[in-house]
Symmetry: none
Subunit: 252 residues, 2 copies
């Protein structure tokens, strides 16, 4: 990976999380500690970030506006791992749908493929996608406060205009019988269309989402592959799910 790319990745991660541990950065970039330390030194020299013991934080800018990427406290190493795995499915020239959410946002920086077209309904995804230079298309519609996802009639209609090689979807619940679900029916509808329309559909779920149900079901387990983490406590549950759908469990 090029120095430039890696440093960009560090900055983007920081913009999302405000602070990042060294281990998170090595994890996310695949580089060694030494390399990350050197990057941090260089970036600090450029005032792009501030080094702190154990990692780095954003520089204390006085007039920095609270961007649309706030409230991202739970951006864990787990999401990064899941994101990186999801990104490995993206191939040169793919057009992909990337759902709103933090899990899906984490995958953007890991996409290595070239000439990728990204379509999204998430404002946070737009920002990440642009930063990494992807051709970016946005669904129209109503901006739902909270998740900052685009929903409604316009969004649905916009979905029909595009053809997706792959769709990457976030979820709030994964359940053996109920399938994938999320609280808001309007958001669920967008996800449902994405799963239906895409050639391949992947649902990203950190371990907190397993064995849970939410109000609105948007797909059955068999409709989309599940990308999640292979934690020791969830081993048994994943085993059970694997009889119902394709599971891609990322090991820490």
């Amino acid at each position: 990976m090029l120095t430039f790319e890696r440093q960009d990745m560090i900055l983007s991660l920081l913009k999302q999380q405000k602070v990042a541990k060294l281990s998170e950065l090595t994890e996310a970039t695949g580089a060694s500690e030494s390399t990350i330390r050197r990057d941090l030194s260089e970036l600090e020299r450029q005032n792009k970030l501030k080094r702190i013991h154990g990692g780095a934080s954003l520089p204390s800018r006085k007039s920095e506006e609270p961007g649309m990427t706030e409230k991202k406290a739970s951006f864990t190493a787990e999401k990064q791992l899941i994101g990186r795995h999801a990104a490995s499915h993206v191939e040169d020239g793919d057009s992909i749908f990337v759902d709103a959410g933090t899990s899906t946002e984490a995958m953007i920086s890991h996409i290595q493929a070239k000439n990728v077209i990204i379509v999204t309904n998430g404002l946070n995804i737009i920002e990440a996608s642009l930063r990494f230079g992807f051709r970016t298309y946005v669904l129209g519609g109503y901006v739902k406060s909270g998740t900052h996802a685009l929903i409604g009639k316009s969004a649905v209609e916009a979905m029909r205009q595009y053809r997706f090689d792959k769709a990457f979807i976030g979820t709030n619940g994964v359940d053996a019988s109920f399938g994938y679900s999320t609280p808001d029916p309007e958001e669920a509808y967008i996800k449902q269309i994405a799963v239906q329309e895409a050639q391949e559909a992947y649902v990203l779920a950190d371990s907190s989402k397993l064995n849970r149900t939410s109000f609105s079901r948007f797909a059955g387990l068999q409709d989309a592959a599940l990308i999640t983490e292979a934690g020791s406590d969830s081993e048994e549950y994943l085993q059970q799910l694997s009889e119902l759908t394709s599971i891609e469990a990322v090991k820490i």
Copy 2:
């Protein structure tokens, strides 16, 4: 393959993906490493790109950015004044179109009216609009890098779905005979529709935009009211314009 063809290929590849590894370039062009290196050196000399260890990236706009920010800073007070005046036109229950851009962004925070619905094609506007709690709708479409405006077929179609009481438009040029204009035809098209569809249309222009023309005309002076600043040096020009359209000049 001819030298300029190969260099064109390098530049177009870079334009797509921001950074390119040497191996990608040799693969794409079929030329040897040495040849690509020579091309990169030459293109860097022309400021067409920036060489980085392992490949090349688009030239860092650091050189032009100081100018941009400097310019932006110097017009901030003026933009705020113009924005505040524009915001005074917004009434309770209005549905308004707010164009992408910094001038229009400045008006959001000054809107006092209640139950206002904001429709926009600018990513920066979304952020501001959400922050101040307005019901926010977004046009879909392609995200143009640079202005971060949504353009293209989807954006145009989305415009047709809404009815606007008022439209607030940014511009790059105000000219007595050519009217209002902006560099990008696609952006101009959106502005044009906004002016046509809205019950009332306002164009916001700081004083640097007066007596200038840009490539794409989107409206005649008589089609939209002009909100600008009444500077001492522009007094005469504004007097001249006031015979052609409605001028609302804000005094500092």
